[in-house]
Symmetry: C2
Subunit: 382 residues, 2 copies
Amino acid sequence: MRRETMATAAVIVLMAFLCCNVAAQGRRRGLRFDGKKGEFRILQVADMHYADGKKTPCEDVLPSQMSSCSDLNTTAFIRRLIIAEKPDLIVFTGDNIFGFDASDAAASMNAAFAPAISANIPWAAVLGNHDQESTLSRGGVMKHIVGMKNTLSKFNPSEAHVIDGYGNYNLEVHGAEGSKLANKSVLNLYLLDSGDYSTVPSIPGYGWIKPSQQLWFQRTSSRLQRSYKNKPEPQKGPAPGLAYFHIPLPEYASFDSSNFTGEKLEQGISSASVNSGFFTTLVAAGDVKAVFTGHDHLNDFCGELTGINLCYAGGLGYHAYGKAGWSRRARMVVASLEKTEKGSWGTVKSIKTWKRLDDQHLTAIDGQVLWSKSSSRKHMLH
Amino acid sequence: MRRETMATAAVIVLMAFLCCNVAAQGRRRGLRFDGKKGEFRILQVADMHYADGKKTPCEDVLPSQMSSCSDLNTTAFIRRLIIAEKPDLIVFTGDNIFGFDASDAAASMNAAFAPAISANIPWAAVLGNHDQESTLSRGGVMKHIVGMKNTLSKFNPSEAHVIDGYGNYNLEVHGAEGSKLANKSVLNLYLLDSGDYSTVPSIPGYGWIKPSQQLWFQRTSSRLQRSYKNKPEPQKGPAPGLAYFHIPLPEYASFDSSNFTGEKLEQGISSASVNSGFFTTLVAAGDVKAVFTGHDHLNDFCGELTGINLCYAGGLGYHAYGKAGWSRRARMVVASLEKTEKGSWGTVKSIKTWKRLDDQHLTAIDGQVLWSKSSSRKHMLH
């Protein structure tokens, strides 16, 4: 090849790389607030426990429902939720498949995430404690997920050389198109792998978020806060953050019906049996306003501790333990922007949540404000 | 300069570097078990609260002692301990000086650590919550310490780019000279900065060990365990480890007189008000058998939780709160090697502890075995 030809070829390769890289980044960084309503809507789907589709029966439903009930009911519920809530993002918080009963992990995941893909909605997933129990390892499951259509899931942060788990990443949600904050992340999502089971003989039970993950979170939060406070459009406080993972933190045990919204039908909180300090790390970082987990299908409450709401979604999947007569459910989170004096959109004004039940009317329950800019200001003035 | 001259100069510089580096490493890595008794003896000095020497009065001593009592009583007690116990290492676990009353931090430290220096005993120090309250910052205090004579203290690990605090480091104690383990660390000491006060508005109280420090500990422990299990002289389990820092962990609150050895004269445990997960990280690492802190001068117990002894030393300093009539005290730890069949020394067989009171006879109290290889083996067989 002549030198000129080589140079031309190199330029073409470079341009192709830039083009696709930009396109990939465009897709990946495409989350932004809606310019009409100034909203960003997140649907959380917890514990689908998907297995083999129609062949997989339901658990804990009424006798009258049993014969016609399968994984397809899980799919149908998600489709109804998408139509009713029109989410901008769907976050699947683990136990997406129930590996023990899934004969092919990849096929099971393809079916489980299909409603998001066919509706063309960006989606992100983290792992639970059952996702690796089929034909793929934990790493293999996450690798499959990041290759799926429309997903914003990432395998792990590229800047962290060593990190525990699979699927630790953050997503930025930019301000409304045309507003001054169009190129700034005004809402930050942190997604983490809370592990499956302890591998330490003297510690029984579930896994936990490790120091390497906490350090990554801390540095990411710190970088995002710096960027938010710097030019252009420098802001005062940090942008609000939301954290999504599977296993609840030990601090979820701090509440009872006197100080939470929702229900706690389980005996306790199935957190790790030890405290790995992530709640402290979250409080210290200062930007995360709420944590959303699954894992305990019959707990669906939100309770506030030290300025952070600790929320469950309640179980969504039909091939998962539940309670007959107690509807499967999902959690919505809607962040709303402030209207600026000039009629444009500003930063996040409030974050609200509610749940939707899989009943005839998709009944919305337990609506509450998780965070608002004004109460946060008031809090700071105290 | 001619090329040959440059090359010669480079070689000289390189040789000088190697020479001094080796010498520095020789000094730094000089800790090893005694070849006669097969022992390594560590004296822990907690909360000297040193200020301005003779001018600084004692606190909480009997009225009859008050007039003649000063920081010099602290010094005298340490000198007596050194003569009686002949330690191979002295570890000062913070609040070495009581900054508020020390008119010159450097002079106060020079006087406080003088007994170790004049006795020519290697020593290591970590910071408490009062060390930075005089003329030097926290970083400045640690910088001064690492420049002092005979100290093995380090400012921070060179391999960690960013770490919280000042004075996070580890020390290796090699097997007995002439034994097969002479070049292997058979006892590992981890020294950490547990901080001073929370800087997070919503978290009151004392500081805590951060994710960056925990990750450093985890990686260091893991590296040491690999090296211990690898050739030459590959070992089965990890070498036992001991951790030293100032502020107790929240898990110190797990005990009462039914399951600890020693006393708890304080109302509670003055740990951080939040759990930062370091106990979990210690249990998960698997090599640390005991943690030694100070901070609560009137608590001096050891209690075992999930295979790790959590120990206080009890306060040593006379210019520190205490209880009149309740002797100032210090904690000894002695690790002993196993005799091999060939009459040489092997790995660590047991780790014992006791305290010495500053009374007429330097009474030794609360002797106990913290760990032994045989019980550890038994434990593993269960």
